[in-house]
Symmetry: C2
Subunit: 408 residues, 2 copies
């Protein structure tokens, strides 16, 4: 590891104060999986009656813990549940040994917390292709259990970092039927120093009461609008996992409740943007808004093509209002577009109007806008009603330094 | 423009000696489209009876000259033909003015050479979104005509450069029915300093005799294996064009001739690899070979996913044998793979064997191999008989410098 990179210039000022989630408790320890002098394993325990939902990477080379979570996520069970996460080793591309290591960890947690093994979920993040030293983790499970506390969610957020430059958390409270429902989430993502891979892990907790299938439907739908709408470098991890647990301790049923859904959406978007803000080498946070596409799906294809284009991302790094590269990215995306109907704005500045540079556009106004740390690129394709928004960061020397300058 | 970048370390020692192509003559002039102190327009004249084939970018935001070429390419005509190309301005995203500018150029050439306008093809490469100053080009057409020579193909190659660090040419001669058939080609590609876009233009000439439809079929098929199998940064130009002209002057019919096809394949691969060698900031030329896929198409999807991955490309720049990033790129490609059957070699060094690090692999052997300027990453998916080969370069600080450090 080439030393800890400096805190991202786009990071929030500090970790937020998160509401307690009744029925959810947390602990973190230093198990020495890989890193020295920091915590690297976190445990979360969920009270009996909790429902759990999850979404996972679609990678064809998913890690053993991801496959294990996917096998368990659809099971209903009134027992409590637990989530155990280690950083430092992703237990990916480790064959049969990886399956055995995952089972060793989850079965140890199940025994210590008196849970069925089918209710213990795990994630691992860090180096790939090396055997997970699972005995270092299982040796700490009783210590973790004895330290569980509803006050310790920030400790959990710190323990799951790999090369993140800051711990990521977000919370919300919402009134439903005159009672307060609380939500709190933590995430890690985007940091990587070879030979690690960028991974995103997200854990969200609420004291709301909601059936598993309803929770899963809500999380899956909001995931498309948040974590699946961000990109740092177009590369997809073998470990990406999001787990959400609803303890039901508030006694408030939120199935179909719009206020709860909006609060969860806001929390997920907040965490997703924190991942982009911690993108490797990032100096700009960029929102790409596409409207006027033939369909929402087409709009999303165009938006991701713009967000992933190295030429667009380097132009942003260079504070260059290079709308030609945006046109190029639209053209290559494969979704429908009519060259002579495309309009492009940088923020409120109309740069290209129906296929050619706007007569009112002044290059110095565009250049001044590009100096902002947070930018919007707004595209109207002018051929339909489909829309989508995605978020990305710029591509800088910092990205190359983090990913190329280190030699293993 | 931020000055001419230094000649690529991967460039060939010098421009090759190319065979004369009877029936094809060339000229270049300085028209001052954008650059000062260099040639920027080239004209090629093809003798009556020449057949012409072409392949073009699939971008939905194609430039006016590309659309004009596509409208003309399928027409049979026994008249001669001409190709006129300017650098400095791509006439892309210029609306109705762009169409008029293309017509002004092609009609002037048609009048000067006594050709039907439908037999005059044009390309433009350079800045986008600015009106093409076509009068500067049309004013030079008679001078170009008077300078046409079968000896001037290198001058043509020099005139079509934008930010290429070297002019690109390749030639071949092949015996067919006891007679010699000659081929010569030129290309430009990969250089870009904002606000230009990377573009690839290719012109190939032969004195072979071949019907238009047969020539088109051969060129389209070989294009998939060569120019469509290279990638520098996954971004697709609005101007990419390949034109091939067969003058028939040798009197040798090459329809269905394997030796001619092989010679053309070799020439196209040579030019394609020269474009990768001139990739922005490139210090490594990398061949990605994928075998054992369910189909050739799946193999190509995996190979391009590896070749376009920023994490793979930065690892190569860092001379890091990071096979985990190759696994990641396979996993995200969307094509079929079985994690536990994948094998990966760097050159002849087996790194990962059926899903886990090879027991014989030594990291210092991998690291030593990665110091080579030309590398092969060889993947066997172990699930079928599909295969594909693509070529790419590394992603370095030089790429960021060229594309981000300049401000318009």
């Amino acid at each position: 590891m080439a030393g800890t990179p400096p805190r991202s210039p786009l990071a929030p000022a500090r970790f937020p104060d998160l509401p307690h989630i009744s029925g959810a408790s947390f602990a973190a320890v230093s198990a020495g999986v890989k890193y020295a002098g920091r915590t690297d394993v976190m445990l979360a325990r969920l009270a009996p009656g909790s429902t759990i939902a999850g979404v996972f990477t679609k990678s064809a080379t998913r890690s053993a813990p991801v496959l294990d979570c996917q096998a368990k996520i659809g099971l209903d069970n009134d027992a409590g549940a637990a989530i155990i996460v280690n950083s430092g080793n992703s237990n990916a591309f480790t064959g049969k040994n990886g399956v055995d290591a995952t089972r060793a960890v989850t079965s140890t947690v199940a025994a210590a917390l008196d849970l069925p093994e089918s209710r213990v979920y795990s994630s691992s993040t860090g180096v790939i292709g090396e055997p997970l030293p699972f005995a270092k983790i299982t040796a700490k499970v009783e210590e973790l259990r004895d330290a569980l506390s509803e006050d310790a969610i920030q400790n959990a957020a710190e323990a799951i970092r790999t090369t993140d430059t800051f711990a990521k958390g977000a919370g919300a409270q919402v009134e439903v039927d005159g009672k307060t429902v609380s939500l709190a989430g933590i995430a890690k993502g985007s940091g990587m120093i070879a030979p690690d891979m960028a991974t995103m892990l997200v854990y969200i907790f609420t004291d709301a009461k909601i059936a598993r299938a309803d929770l899963q439907a809500m999380v899956s739908e909001l995931n498309v609008l948040t974590f699946n709408s961000i990109t740092v470098d177009s590369d997809t991890s073998t470990s990406d996992s999001l787990l959400m647990a609803a303890t039901g301790a508030s006694g408030v049923d939120v199935a179909g409740n719009a206020a709860f859904r909006d609060a969860l959406h806001g929390l997920m978007k907040d965490l997703a943007l924190q991942v982009v803000r911690d993108g490797e080498g990032a100096t700009k946070l960029v929102e790409i808004q596409v409207t006027g596409a033939l369909s929402d799906e087409d709009a999303r294809t165009h938006a991701l093509s713009i967000a992933n284009s190295p030429l667009v991302k380097t132009a942003i790094a260079g504070e260059d209002p290079n709308w030609g590269r945006v046109v190029m990215a639209i053209g290559k995306s494969g979704a429908a577009a009519d060259r002579d109907l495309i309009s492009i704005s940088f923020g409120d500045i109309l740069v290209a109007d129906k296929g050619w540079v706007s007569p009112d556009y002044r290059e110095d106004a565009g250049a001044a806008y590009m100096k902002n740390a947070e930018l919007a690129i707004v595209v109207n394709l002018g051929i339909g009603k489909g829309s989508a928004t995605v978020w990305t960061c710029d591509l800088t020397h910092g990205y190359i330094t983090i990913n190329a300058d280190y030699r293993s």
